[in-house]
């Protein structure tokens, strides 16, 4: 893959990943076969800011956790009124990082599949 293409991809999608993951991601992408490029471009990532809004509105019911794919934790949050209200507040700070980690997991899965 050309460097220009790679930088373009990283620039448009950098907000979906943790800053410390970007260098690792760049290395992974530069070593990737060109045939997987099309598959990567149609991947849909979850926006951390949207997740923060959902966490503000639907946090007590665990909707944020369900949406990023943590079904088990979502049910835990739903059954306990958002972890007695404590977990809801903690998740307001954690959800953006968790979303970025999920996105990283998703792209790595696509690269190695």
């Amino acid at each position: 893959m050309t460097n220009q293409k790679l930088d373009m991809f990283l620039m448009t999608n950098s907000k979906y990943f943790e800053s410390y993951d970007l260098i690792k991601l760049r290395n992974e992408l530069s070593e990737m076969e060109d045939s997987k490029w099309n598959k990567l471009q149609i991947l849909q990532f979850k926006d951390p800011t949207t997740m923060l809004i959902i966490s503000l509105l639907g946090g007590p019911l665990g909707i944020d956790r369900f949406m990023i794919g943590d079904t088990g934790l979502g049910i835990g949050k739903l059954l306990t009124c958002g972890g007695l209200g404590i977990w809801t507040i903690v998740d307001l700070f954690l959800i953006m990082g968790a979303t970025r980690e999920k996105n990283m997991f998703k792209i790595l899965e696509a690269i190695y599949s």
């Binding site: 946090g59 007590p60 943590d70 079904t71 049910i75 739903l78 306990t80 009124c81 958002g82 007695l84």
Partner: protein
């Protein structure tokens, strides 16, 4: 798409611990017949009860042996009590035996629940309980 093993263990153990402390606190309040602490953010903001409102009272009823009242107040309380009894024991057992059976089981359950047909059933159940909860409280 699952969380790290250590995170899951720490999180579930601390949630159970906080749950036990909360129940102990509420039990104390319950015995002294004063007004208990209302922690549900959803209920405090909207005045509409959330799907799991009433489970504190239901668990307190279960502790004093009144199963029917517990089911009437919130059927989820049976599930919560089951989880709260089994989870810490399972985590401790995993720690002693140095195995990861709880983590494997959690991943398996999660992958089952992510299938649309099971997820749909769970959503319907939760919405039914929520509607019943709202009818009960008004």
């Amino acid at each position: 798409m699952t969380i790290k093993k250590s995170n899951l263990y720490i999180l579930s153990f601390s949630v159970c611990l906080i749950g036990y402390l909360y129940i102990a606190f509420q039990f104390n309040q319950y015995n002294s017949a004063s007004v208990g602490l209302d922690v549900c953010i959803f209920k405090n903001l909207t005045t509409i009860p959330c799907p799991s409102c009433g489970s504190t009272r239901a668990i307190l009823a279960l502790v004093s042996g009144d199963v029917l009242t517990a089911i009437y107040l919130n059927p989820f309380s049976i599930l919560i009590v089951g989880i709260m009894i089994i989870l810490p024991l399972w985590i401790l057992l995993d720690g002693i035996m140095n195995s990861s059976s709880f983590y494997k089981y959690y991943c398996k359950i999660e992958s089952i629940m992510q299938k649309p047909k099971y997820g749909f059933c769970i959503i319907i159940l939760v919405i039914c309980n929520w509607t019943w909860n709202i009818i009960k409280m008004t």
